[in-house]
């Protein structure tokens, strides 16, 4: 064994993380080795705190330390407007706009027929219960514009349509700061179809 047992063990654990290969794992392990004991304790406590304190919101399934989460608990948010997103990362991306005042429903995944991920594997039932029990006026489909996201949106829209709720989806089009000549045909087609009045 080239490394001591404890160093080898830490490298092995780092390698399990997404995007971390052998070299990066070694680099991180040597970084941990050279920091002070106090810093190492802070790092390990941060990981333990994350694992013990973070849970899912019982209403929207967002990651939170208090249940319900700050968004669901906030009376100034519009609770009749629900934006359906795939995961907490998508929720954070929309929150960063600072303009959305409704609430969210995090599905914790998307439907993927090719991978056998069906409606029972993500939080669609919870969304339906929430919509049926509360006075919801609009549901915004905020899933990604790929095959899985589209399948999920179509499936949920099909379940919601008998309830007479307004169902909308995020507009799709040309990203800001790019040249139209480099946009692909599908994006441009969607942008043309979803054009808005000046």
């Amino acid at each position: 064994m080239i490394y001591s047992e404890s160093l080898q063990e830490l490298i092995k654990e780092f390698k399990k993380m997404p995007g971390i290969g052998e070299k990066n794992a070694q680099r991180l392990a040597f970084y941990v080795l050279q920091i002070s004991n106090e810093q190492a304790q802070k790092l390990s406590m941060a990981i333990i705190n994350l694992k013990t304190r973070i849970r899912y919101c019982s209403i929207c399934s967002n990651l939170t330390e208090v249940d319900p989460c700050a968004i669901c608990h906030n009376p100034s948010r519009d609770h009749s407007l629900i934006c359906v997103v795939e995961d907490p990362k998508a929720l954070i991306a929309i929150e960063k706009t600072g303009q959305y005042k409704g609430v969210y429903h995090v599905l914790m995944g998307t439907l993927s027929p090719l991978d056998n991920i069906g409606p029972d594997d993500i939080r669609i039932k919870e969304l339906m219960t929430r919509v049926e029990k509360n006075d919801v006026k609009e549901v915004i489909m905020g899933t990604s514009p790929n095959m899985e996201g589209e399948t999920t949106s179509l499936y949920i829209a099909r379940l919601l349509s008998p309830l007479g709720i307004k169902i909308t989806r995020l507009a799709r089009g040309v990203p800001i700061g790019t040249d139209i000549e480099y946009a692909d045909e599908i994006t441009l087609l969607n942008a043309l179809e979803g054009r808005t009045k000046f």
């Binding site: 995007g19 027929p113 069906g118 589209e150 399948t151 099909r158 990203p175 692909d184 599908i186």
Partner: protein, 247 residues
Amino acid sequence: MPLQETQALVLRTDNLGEADKIVTLFSPQTGKIKGVANGARRPKSRFGSSLEVLSYIRVVYFAQPKGLHRLNQTDLVDYFPKIRVELPKLAAALYLVDLVNSLTEQEDSNPDLFNLLLYNLKIINQGNFEPVLLRIFEIRALTVLGFAPQFEKCTICKKRLDFLQKNVYNILCGGILCLECAKDKGGISLSCGSINFLKQAVKIDLDKIGRLKLSANQAQEVKQLLHQHILYNIKQEINSYRFLEKL
């Protein structure tokens, strides 16, 4: 590393690392191939939206003697936009590409199967989707791949069948049995109408498949038979079939 160019349908994509994709393509020249598209998940990727499942593309790639090819450039030929806005159409089209992916081996060229898949995707995109189309696709795909059930003769004693009586399909024998052989082996009951449909579905010109009809009972019989036959041949479940059944 020779540069190859071909047309292809995207059967599936799998994420690789932070921003790459492994793309499974089905081409008339090379059959099923797998390639890496570097940076395909980035918003400003040169591949754009062309590597979505169900896309019909022209692709340029560096062929590798072993392992995954390297995709260099893609151009979109058809996106089948109407499939992507109706759930029954989308589920059916996903089943077709999933079935082709399950039934085929890599680098095994089959232009007939490619044309069949492309034609069916165009039909689903253009018109009203009918489940009978899936049954016609299944039997024709099995036929071009050499897995089709036998309908003309008893698969055991080779006696010619008249189909005027009760018919029995035996999955282990891969076809219809005469009444004598069926006594020992058993199997699924199949009406004459269902057998005639399956025989016609293989022979009829693709542009006339809209003429083939099935009653509700026959549709159930044919669906069950073909599904069992496919599962027996590929020895695994087809994921998208379950989703299709839940709709």
